[in-house]
Amino acid sequence: MTAPIIDIQNMTKTYSLGGEVVKALQNVSLQIEKGEFLAIVGPSGSGKSTFMNMIGCLDRPDSGRYFLDGKEIGKMSDNELAVVRNEKIGFIFQNFNLLSRLTALENVELPLLYRGTKAKERKNMAYECLEKVGLADRAHHLPSQLSGGQQQRVAIARALVGNPPILLADEPTGALDSKTSQEIINMMKNLNEQGHTIIIITHDWEVAKQAKRIVRIQDGCLSESRGDFVGIPSID
């Protein structure tokens, strides 16, 4: 068996909020193999966001170890983390987080810009990704000229363009209606079939149960349930 792409061991993170110490993560361990489709579910305040920041290399744990693709994240500098985010992780956010002044194509180009890819190559790659999400004809539209679903597809294209091994989606359907949500989920399933490792963080059971593997997070602790989900109440 190959080494897991994500290997989290005994991760702990606390931070103080208004003088109160919050234990956001307590001894969390998680291994994710390449090609998995994982959903992390939990109510708000469960430490979900902190966990996603950790996986996304936006933050460093207080203790514990985190290996991403064989490299330990905890010991990296801010600049090294930026490189890891750029190359290993594709972010998909709840509210899309596209830059409003840039066109769809330019938004998709952005990760490559920070990677230092040449302009022409950048444009071609961005265009290909927009084609993949079916928005090639909207390449020169501004985000404000696109519907929510289209914006999220642009965001997916942006996450895909750098060809990262992991796609990290934080409530990707949170701002969309159920029909569009299903489209986005289907698109993710598709991408997973093409070999992308996908991690979805959500509190929506309908979304979570379409993943191949579900991890629950509650009060900073992780628990895993496999197989039959029948009988497990909705978390909402």
């Binding site: 936006l58 801010d78 490189v83 750029n86 987080n97 830059l99 920070y114 302009a119 750098g162």
Partner: protein
Amino acid sequence: MGFLQSIKMALRSIQGNKLRSFLTMLGIIIGVSSVIVLISIGQGTSEAVTNQINRLGTNLLTVNVMDTDVVKLTQENIEKFQKIEGVKAIAPVVSGRVVAKNGNTSTQVALMGTTAPYQTVRDAQVSQGRFLSDIDVEYRQKIVVLGANTAQTLFGMDNPIGKYVQINGTSFKVVGVLASKGGSLGQNGDDVMVMPLSTAQRVIKTTNIQTLYIQGKSADQLDQVMGLVQRVLMNMFPNHQDSYSVFNQKDLMDTMSSVTNTMTMMLGGIAGISLLVGGIGIMNIMLVSVSERTREIGIRKAIGAKRRDILLQFLIEAIVLSSLGGIVGIMLGFAGGKLLAAMAGITISYSFSVSLIAFFFSLVVGVVFGVFPASKAAKLDPIQALRYE
């Protein structure tokens, strides 16, 4: 990220906020253009003064005799000055005030009796007729060369050449009219009348030469020549150093240029302050821009922008703002200077180096006042920035 790409991005965000960007630039525009206009005026004035002094004659030493009773300069003993190395020409002058008449018109003028070299020594051009010649001096000819104003007063629009003026009852033939020099430093060079030295000595009844103009061959030698002139005078009139003075035109020039330079510096300094204020305006706007775009910074960081990338982005934006302001300011400064010159009749002198310095100063202002907001942006925590509403 490429440098060109950063500039493109900066231009884009400047375009996105046109009015605000323009107002920010306005500070720099006003600063740079006022630096250019004020320094142009300063330098123009300095040049005008230099020209005026030079019009009195180049490489000029003036020996003024205060006490003609003890310091008696005569045609004979001034020959010694001619022999000093580095001396090109000398022109002795006797002067007095006389009343000149033409028919019923009369005017009081400064009469100067001198020799032919006066023309080159004092750079006296004639607009009509001729200047004095050696022969006039030798034969004590009763001729005069009129200053521009004198000719105007006595003859009006008529051509005075060949006509006569009366001085103390004697007729003098007008052979020439001096070109107008304009007044400078309290002297009016046009209210004069020039006649041969020997003739003038008779008219004003004195043989004493009050002024001796000595022209040096070059500006470098002038100090040396001045020393030699002083030594000759000391030998000629021992113990009477207080009765004459030797005056170097370069000293005057140096004094004047130090005055005008101080003025230029002062004007430039005042304008520089406005440039500084413009810089603070840039910093202010950049700080606003950073907090407005916190979310954008968060997104950029999340998808892999390093600190350096964010720092560069905002720094370049500040620099582009300030240098655009600088360019517009230079153009406005040139136009403003031209307008001022045309309307107020002020001499202005543009200098390429000053424009360059003003431009670079605006760049530096952009860097200095852009660094703080840019580093603030670069240091933002991506998690906090992403959460920012």
